[in-house]
């Protein structure tokens, strides 16, 4: 059964995940949710990398994925800290209201 799964299936799911992530970033207004959507993008890339790794019988992709997960973890820590700090200061995490950089 597994042989019926080609790389295209994996890539399709990965692309879908990525598109969902982008859509989430664009559509949602809550900074926390946007953040989660961004994580989804990263994982879409991870999925594609693992798929390539498996089908090409090269482990390089999987090693890269480890790095990405590690960095994403660090990034989450920093990003959440920023969002928390932002909330404390502005009492909101809605990106529509965070427009001080705008003219």
């Amino acid at each position: 059964m597994t042989s019926a799964l080609t790389i295209n299936h994996y890539l399709f799911v990965s692309g879908l995940l990525f598109a969902l992530g982008i859509a989430g970033v664009i559509i949602r207004r809550n900074a926390l949710v946007i953040y989660m959507a961004l994580e989804m993008n990263l994982n879409a890339a991870n999925l594609a990398l693992v798929a390539f790794s498996k089908f090409n019988k090269i482990v390089d992709g999987q090693i890269l994925v480890f790095f990405i997960i590690a960095i994403a973890a660090a990034e989450v820590a920093v990003g959440l800290a920023i969002i928390v700090a932002l909330y404390r200061r502005k009492r909101t995490v809605s990106v529509d209201e965070l427009t001080t950089m705008r003219l």
Partner: protein, 630 residues
């Protein structure tokens, strides 16, 4: 072709008893004095004067020593040229030294007459708040002038030439709080720049053919270059432009009379004896370049002749004691330039030398009169001064006779040589020169009779008049002696170019030339030698002509008109171009354009993160589409 005397067995100043190259000391002593005065002794007037006078006396002493060594022992001092400027492989400019007979004579004149005038200034400038500044400028001038004299190439000469212009500017405008003095300084500088620009073009044009600036090399190379007569005339004419400016020849003569705004010692030193003679000196220095061209030398001769006659006619109708002398200087410079143009640099230099003596003397005498009358310069307010200022009167009289060319004073011999030269070469110029000689005697007679004889017209001034102090009368006597003996036995031309053959002309001609100035004095005496002299009879006789010469042929008005309308129009066009095309369209357009661009792109800055994310996504998609699919 002219060859100034140069002795081949040279003393390089190393093996003599004097280990330092005395030529360099002659040149740099005044500069050191300037620097010391400007930096340290501004407040100690005595020290400033001592430094300045000490420097020029040192220069004079060393020049005299060099001169005597040259004449007696045939030793020519020289100094190793200093490698100064090397540009690429073609331009090699040295800071060199010329010490041939021409340069030696000029060194003596500049430092000798200069020394007398420096000492005289001690009395004349007494009590002036700018005393130290005056001596600093005077020393700077001396340095520059000596620099011109010893220059061994065109570039070196041109630099000192400009330095002389600068120091002249500083000294004319010495009393800069007087607007007329400041204006006169500016005028002199600008008019000189016009001539100097031509000279620079001439030097560069010459270089483009000969590839060297050095006088010695040029003189050797000239015959082999095969320049066409047109080119040669152009180069000669352009270089002559420099002399026209500096020696105040027609049509750039207008600055010299105005330069009389400076202190009188300055008028004597710079605007009579030395600086204005620099043009003539330069022409003599490069006579090998100018004389082969018939056109250039004719141009020079005619400009000189015209200047001589024109200035002499103007001088008869002036009322300022110094301005009369200024026009007389113009006229005599015209003589010298004419002599160079007629192929006689030696008579020109001879006249330059004697003229330096008696014209410096006349100016210093005039200064003494001006000081005696507490800065009164109008000759019609003087009169009868001979009793009050006897030394000034007698020395002034000697100067006058020498200038007019009365034998056996120096002016007679030098002027005689020029007139005889003109008689030989060009009869029209000869007639003009004789007319000038007549007018010279006439206007000088007028000045002497009106200033010193007759009845005092301004009694208040007359009663307070007094003879000048010894520091002023001594230089007068020194220069008067030189004015008397300067021309005897044709020592000067002999020294310049032996063997010098005084050409023998018919006795009639010589007698005529003696009679001309005497006749001039006679006419002047008839009109002005009375108790109450006035211009009225001459005015009546000349009619409109008098108005014309009284207004100096309206040259100033003409130039003013040219500056106002021609130069003014050009300036306006430039102004409009600058203001509207460059400033508004060019610079302004650029700035307004940038501003607009900024304002437009600022609209993209919405502040909505989702908008940015959408644009980023769109951008990435487009890039991927182009990279992968295309």
């Amino acid at each position: 072709m002219n060859h100034w005397v140069s002795i081949s067995g040279t003393d390089w100043g190393m093996n003599g008893r004097w280990p330092i190259c005395s030529v360099w000391v002659i040149l740099f002593a005044p500069l050191v004095a300037t620097a010391l005065i400007a930096l340290f002794t501004q407040k100690w007037k005595g020290a400033s004067a001592a430094l300045s006078i000490g420097a020029i006396v040192l220069s004079f002493g060393l020049s005299l020593r060099m001169f005597l060594l040259f004449v007696m022992k045939g030793i020519q001092h020289q100094a190793h040229p200093v490698q100064w400027l090397i540009i690429g492989k073609t331009v090699n400019i040295e800071f060199g030294m010329t010490t041939d007979s021409l340069a030696l004579l000029m060194l003596l004149v500049v430092s000798g007459v200069g020394a007398a005038i420096h000492i005289y200034s001690l009395g004349y400038m007494k009590g002036d708040p700018g005393f130290s500044r005056f001596f600093a400028c005077l020393s700077l001038f001396t340095f520059s002038m000596l620099g011109i004299v010893i220059s061994s190439n065109f570039i070196q000469m041109f630099i000192f030439w400009e330095l002389v212009g600068l120091s002249s500017y500083l000294l004319i405008g010495f009393w800069f709080e007087k607007p007329s003095a400041a204006e006169a300084g500016k005028k002199a500088f600008l008019v000189n720049r016009i001539g100097d620009f031509g000279m620079m073009l001439g030097i560069l044009l010459l270089w483009s053919y000969a590839r060297t600036f050095s006088f010695a090399e040029l003189q050797q190379k000239m015959p082999t270059l095969g320049l066409s007569s047109g080119t040669l005339a152009l180069i000669g004419g352009l270089i002559f432009c420099g002399a026209v400016g500096k020696s105040a020849q027609f049509p750039l003569h207008v600055w010299l009379p105005d330069a009389m705004e400076g202190p009188t010692p300055v008028s004597a030193l710079i605007h009579a004896a030395t600086m204005v003679a620099a043009g003539v000196y330069m022409l003599c220095r490069v006579s090998w370049l100018i004389l082969p061209s018939v056109t250039a030398s004719a141009l020079i001769a005619w400009i000189g002749g015209i200047t001589a006659l024109m200035a002499a006619t103007i001088a008869i109708a002036q009322n300022d004691i110094k301005r009369i002398l200024a026009y007389s200087t113009l006229s005599q410079l015209g003589y010298m330039v004419m002599a160079v143009g007629l192929g006689g640099p030696t008579p020109a230099m001879f006249h330059l030398t004697t003229h330096a003596f008696f014209k410096a003397l006349l100016f210093l005498g005039a200064g003494s009169v001006i000081l005696a009358l507490h800065h009164e310069q109008d000759i019609w307010k003087m009169g009868g001064l001979w009793k009050k200022t006897p030394i000034t009167f007698w020395t002034f009289l000697i100067g006058t006779l020498a200038l007019a060319g009365v034998p056996p004073l120096s002016g007679f011999y030098s002027k005689d040589e020029i007139l005889l030269l003109a008689f030989e070469r060009n009869h029209v110029l000869f007639v003009m020169a004789v007319a000038t000689a007549f007018l010279t005697a006439y206007y000088m007679g007028r000045e002497v009779f009106v200033v010193f004889l007759g009845k005092p017209r301004d009694h208040h001034a007359y009663d307070h008049a007094h003879e000048s102090p010894v520091v002023m009368t001594l230089p007068l006597i020194f220069l008067a002696l030189l004015s008397i003996v300067g021309g005897w036995y044709s020592k000067v031309p002999d020294f310049l170019q032996p063997p010098h053959h005084a050409e023998h002309h018919s006795l009639l001609l010589t007698a005529g030339l003696i009679a001309v100035p005497l006749f001039g004095f006679l006419v002047a005496a008839k009109i002005y030698c009375k108790a109450e002299p006035s211009d009225a009879p001459v005015k009546a006789a000349l009619g409109k002509l008098w108005t014309l010469v009284e207004n100096k042929y309206y040259f100033d008005e003409l130039y003013h008109w040219i500056v106002k309308y021609v130069q003014g129009t050009i300036a306006n066009v430039c102004d409009v171009f600058d203001r509207w095309i460059l400033q508004r369209l060019g610079i302004g357009g650029l700035s307004v354009g940038t501003g607009l661009l900024g304002k437009t792109t600022r609209l993209l800055q919405t502040g909505s993160i989702s908008g940015y994310a959408f644009l980023i996504g769109l951008g990435v998609t487009v890039i991927i589409y182009y990279v992968v699919v295309r």
